[in-house]
């Protein structure tokens, strides 16, 4: 038996080989591929996909495209079609779509960033520094995340405004509006909780101010404050709670409510048709055209893919070129920076706080505002959506927008807050929170004399000092001329640091309340070497003040008609006020942004 099988072996093998050679491998391969593709793409074949991307008609009957939306989880969430009118770009501006887009971008960048960050005060700031200097694409990821956050808040707000002005909250869309306002709150809280995580001065103080409003709530204020912060002040407890809010609770709520919100749009009432089509005097043929269906596959999907590509490109381009998220100094509860500012979307709240009592303007009125927002569809009894058919609604909307913008402006630090001029001027030259012009200047241009000696730049000084022999040494004493006059020394002409000094001079001399003393300079800067690569700069403003009547705030004049200077306590000696700021600058420091 074996013998006969062995004898036949050669021919058996040959026979099998021939069968293999003659087998239609191409067809087999095509069949397998087709099977796999259809399995993944919910019944759409490769040829069908090609037709979709080309904009061609379906390749088989029955149309497999609609069926795909029944078979696929991801596709089943989308509508099968929209009416042409509701896809006008200028009707929706794709704002709702962009809200979701940004949420997805934030989730992806956020998950990547989570790898490099731990939410404890001991580690948080150090982790930020490492992220920016030690993780490849770390700065890029962070900037994308920040840009996406700003974009998401902006787009969600604009979406709400759009829906209001197109009246797309009425009738069956009322509940969708309601969930939308919830989503607005969730977005604002997502952004606010993320704001604290870098644990720098900007984050710490913005959030301290924000949460301090919670304390002002009547009856429950203290408990709410403790709940948010985990302690009376923000430190480890607050950071951990905000982190968990930011990466767990808020995203969960967002996903739930986005699902509820979008399900209504996709399944129940669709995107609204622009009101002119329904209520306006559009000719019937045009109306019919605008009511025609635009299929999700291929038209809307291709459009959305294009939007993804273009929007992502624009975001990446922005982050690579000009957009960089700031990082200030380590959070310090002992030092409040000048001009603390809420994030821009809360400036309106900061503006309101300047108007009155914290409990009213910080808690009660904003709660009322949001309560009104929630019930807008039920307050508005007018069933019509076209602008000219709802004068009251449109007017209220415009007023609300204007009011918000005004309040936002009032929230800026320049409004309503008076900073003493000397402190203000120095904080512009060498601010605490960002580099400022002096730190950004070229180190070599901030010239000084040899090590062990110091050079003094007299920025604003009484005339007699120019002639005084004590200050004749041109290496140690430099007198800054006014803008418009030339430096004596040619060498100084193109020095950018000295240009800054000239502006300093102009600033300090234009302040009416900074009265120059007659025996010393009003403003000066001394520069010396601390270490071979480290320069120490000391900015000093010394000024006199006039005595004023405490009741009328008028300057007191003496018998000869001269104003009286303020004197030291219990003394006749004129009081000289001083504002000093010391800054150290290293040769290798890099301060671009």
């Amino acid at each position: 038996m074996i013998g006969s099988q062995l004898r036949d072996l050669r021919s058996t093998v040959n026979g099998e080989l021939t069968k293999l050679r003659r087998y239609d491998w191409r067809a087999w391969f095509a069949a397998v591929t087709d099977y796999v593709v259809r399995g993944i793409m919910a019944g759409l074949s490769a040829g069908e996909l090609r037709a979709i991307l080309r904009g061609d008609a379906p390749t088989e009957k029955p149309n497999p495209r609609y069926k795909a939306q029944v078979k696929s989880f991801i596709l089943h969430i989308r509508p099968k079609y929209y009416q042409r009118g509701s896809t006008w770009f200028t009707h929706t501006w794709r704002l709702g779509w962009f809200s979701t887009y940004f949420f997805i971008v934030e989730t992806i960048t956020g998950v990547i960033l989570m790898l490099f960050y731990a939410p404890t005060p001991e580690r948080a700031y150090g982790d930020m520094l490492l992220l920016l200097s030690n993780v490849p694409f770390g700065e890029f990821m962070r900037d994308m995340h920040r840009l996406g956050a700003e974009g998401m808040v902006a787009v969600v707000l604009l979406h709400m405004v759009r829906v209001y002005f197109t009246g797309s909250y009425k009738g069956e869309r009322a509940f969708t509006w309601f969930t939308g306002v919830i989503l607005l709150l969730v977005t604002l809280l997502l952004s606010f909780s993320g704001y604290l995580l870098p644990w720098d001065q900007l984050a710490y103080w913005a959030v301290t101010i924000g949460t301090s409003m919670a304390e002002a709530a009547p009856a429950i204020g203290t408990e709410v404050n403790l709940l948010l912060r985990g302690a009376v002040d923000i430190w480890a407890g607050g950071l951990m709670r905000f982190y968990l809010l930011h990466v767990l609770l808020m995203p969960l709520l967002a996903i739930i409510f986005i699902s509820v919100h979008y399900y209504k749009v996709a399944r129940e009432h669709s995107i609204s048709l622009p009101a002119p089509i329904i209520e306006g005097d559009m000719p019937a043929a045009e109306k019919k055209y605008q009511e025609e269906r635009i299929d999700l596959i291929p038209n809307l999907i291709i459009h959305e893919l294009m939007l993804v590509a273009v929007a992502t490109f624009l975001m990446i381009w922005a982050c690579v070129t000009f957009y960089h998220a700031p990082l200030e100094q380590h959070a310090d509860p002992q030092i409040t920076p000048l001009h603390t500012m809420a994030p821009w979307y809360f400036l309106w709240l900061q503006g309101m706080l300047k108007l009155g009592d914290k409990a009213w303007t910080g808690i009660i009125i904003p709660t009322i505002i949001f309560a009104i927002l929630f019930v807008v569809p039920w307050l508005d009894r007018n069933p019509l959506r076209m602008a000219r058919n709802r004068p009251i609604g449109i007017t209220m909307g415009i007023l609300a927008v204007i009011l918000t913008l005004v309040l936002t402006y009032m929230g800026l630090p320049q409004y309503g807050i008076v900073t003493p001029p000397a402190q203000d001027i120095l904080s512009e030259l060498v601010p605490m929170t960002h580099p400022g012009p002096v730190r950004a200047a070229d180190w070599d241009e901030i010239e000084t004399t040899e090590a062990g000696e110091k050079r003094t730049y007299f920025v604003s000084y009484p005339e007699w000092m120019l002639e005084d022999e004590r200050y004749a040494d041109k290496d140690k004493y430099v007198f800054i001329p006014a803008l418009g006059e030339e430096f004596e020394d040619e060498h100084f002409a193109h020095n950018h640091f000295l240009e800054i000094m000239r502006e300093f001079k102009a600033d300090v001399e234009s302040q009416a309340t900074l009265i120059p003393p007659s025996d010393r300079p009003l403003a000066q800067v001394t520069v010396e070497y601390s270490q071979p690569e480290l320069k120490r700069l000391e900015f000093k403003i010394q000024w006199l003040e006039f005595e004023t009547d405490p009741r009328t705030s008028e300057v007191i004049i003496d018998e000869e008609g001269n104003p009286v200077f303020k004197t030291k306590l219990d003394s006749d000696e004129i009081a000289v006020n001083e504002q000093v700021q010391v800054v150290a600058l290293h040769a290798d420091s890099e301060y671009e942004h």
Partner: protein, 377 residues
């Protein structure tokens, strides 16, 4: 329309890929520049914090004061304070590379006692022995500073090592060169690191006074030209006899002295008896009681005034070298320097000059004060 959108989308995707690739090629350089920038910002912040927390004891730019200098400069180039961190590490037998840890732990935990109390009293002074010589700054030890702040300050302090060659033998050779250079002044033999000079005997009051001026740490607070000290935390001692005469005559004075010399004695033996008004509000501690003996007090006065106490005779001819220099306007209390005192006409002492040391000469000149030149060794 679909074709246009597809084209646009594809172009955007390709552009994105290019952009990321371009960014990626520069990423290494960006990261290393940024890392260096952050290290350097740490030094800058450390320098700024130094001013706020450390300068009151360790002096501006770490030149030293009540407490040791932290820069290398003063120890090497003729300063009077003493060795800086590098020298200290060497003295202690520690590796120079451990300087950061050394400095950080000193900041964090402080120092309970001064390791060289004859030189640096630190925070402890007579009547105040309970406190730490250097306070603990770390939050874990009860102080105000966070770990990142202490790291910044330590980064700043170890940055002074740029002045010092890292090889200690090289540094010593360099120092020897400086000492041999006639153009560079070394103020006192007792400032040389490692010097084991015999202290002068009490038979030579002015020299002994100079020795005491250093070892009792007077030079860490008081400016006095012959000792080369420029500290301005406390009243300057140049022309002190004339100043003392004025103080005694001043209405404000409420101590027990009735003459300039008695005033000087009182200042040294009972510093709290009277504090000059300009220095009352300065916030720094008053002069500690140094528990001086009679002969120590005599020697110090001899050094300060240039006049030998009773019973001593001059050994050599005076060497008179004077130079008029300009003084700076910075010190608050240096206005009333000149009285009309003649130099030799003090009460019961003969006029002599010291062998090597200087003589305090007061001549009212109308504007400037004169400084003496010291000749050492």
């Amino acid at each position: 329309m679909i074709r246009i959108e597809i084209t646009l989308g594809l172009l955007a995707t390709i552009a994105t890929v290019f952009l990321i690739a371009l960014y990626g090629t520069r990423e290494d350089e960006r990261m290393s520049t940024r890392a260096r920038a952050y290290d350097v910002r740490s030094v800058e912040r450390g320098a700024e914090m130094y001013e706020q927390y450390c300068a009151s004891c360790h002096g501006p730019n770490a030149v030293g004061g009540m407490c040791p200098p932290l820069n290398e400069y003063s120890g090497l180039v003729g300063g009077t304070r003493g060795p800086g961190i590098a020298w200290r590490m060497e003295e202690l037998g520690l590796d120079r590379t451990a300087a950061y840890e050394y400095v950080y732990s000193a900041i964090d935990a402080g120092r309970t006692v001064s390791s060289r109390p004859w030189r640096w009293v630190g925070n402890r002074s007579a009547g105040n022995e309970g406190v730490m010589a250097m306070p603990a700054w770390g939050q874990n030890n009860g102080g105000p500073l966070r770990p990142d702040q202490m790291k910044d300050i330590a980064n700043f302090i170890v940055g002074f090592d740029d002045f010092v060659p890292t090889d200690f033998a090289e540094a010593e050779a360099w120092l020897a060169e400086i000492q041999a250079d006639p153009n560079i002044e070394m103020v006192s033999v007792y400032d040389e690191p490692g010097a084991q000079a015999e202290p002068p005997s009490e038979d030579d009051p002015i020299a002994y006074g100079e020795y005491l001026f250093g070892t009792k740490a007077c030079n860490t607070c008081h400016a006095y030209e012959p000792a080369g000290s420029v500290a301005n935390a406390c009243p300057p001692l140049d022309g002190v006899l004339a100043i003392a005469a004025e103080r005694v005559a001043d209405e404000d004075y409420d101590g027990a002295a009735d003459s300039a010399l008695a005033y000087l004695r009182e200042s040294m033996l009972d510093p709290g008896a009277y504090i000059v008004p300009e220095y009352r509000e300065s916030g720094s501690s008053i002069m500690p009681n140094l528990a001086l003996t009679e002969s120590e007090t005599d020697s110090l006065i001899a050094f300060l005034t240039g006049e030998l106490p009773e019973g001593f005779e001059a050994a050599e001819e005076p060497e008179d070298e004077e130079e008029a220099t300009e003084s700076e306007e910075d010190d608050a209390a240096s206005e009333d320097e000149d009285a009309a005192s003649e130099d030799e006409a003090s009460e019961d002492t003969e006029e002599d000059a010291s062998d090597e040391d200087e003589e305090a000469d007061e001549e009212s000149d109308g504007d400037e004060e004169e400084a003496e030149d010291e000749d050492e060794e």
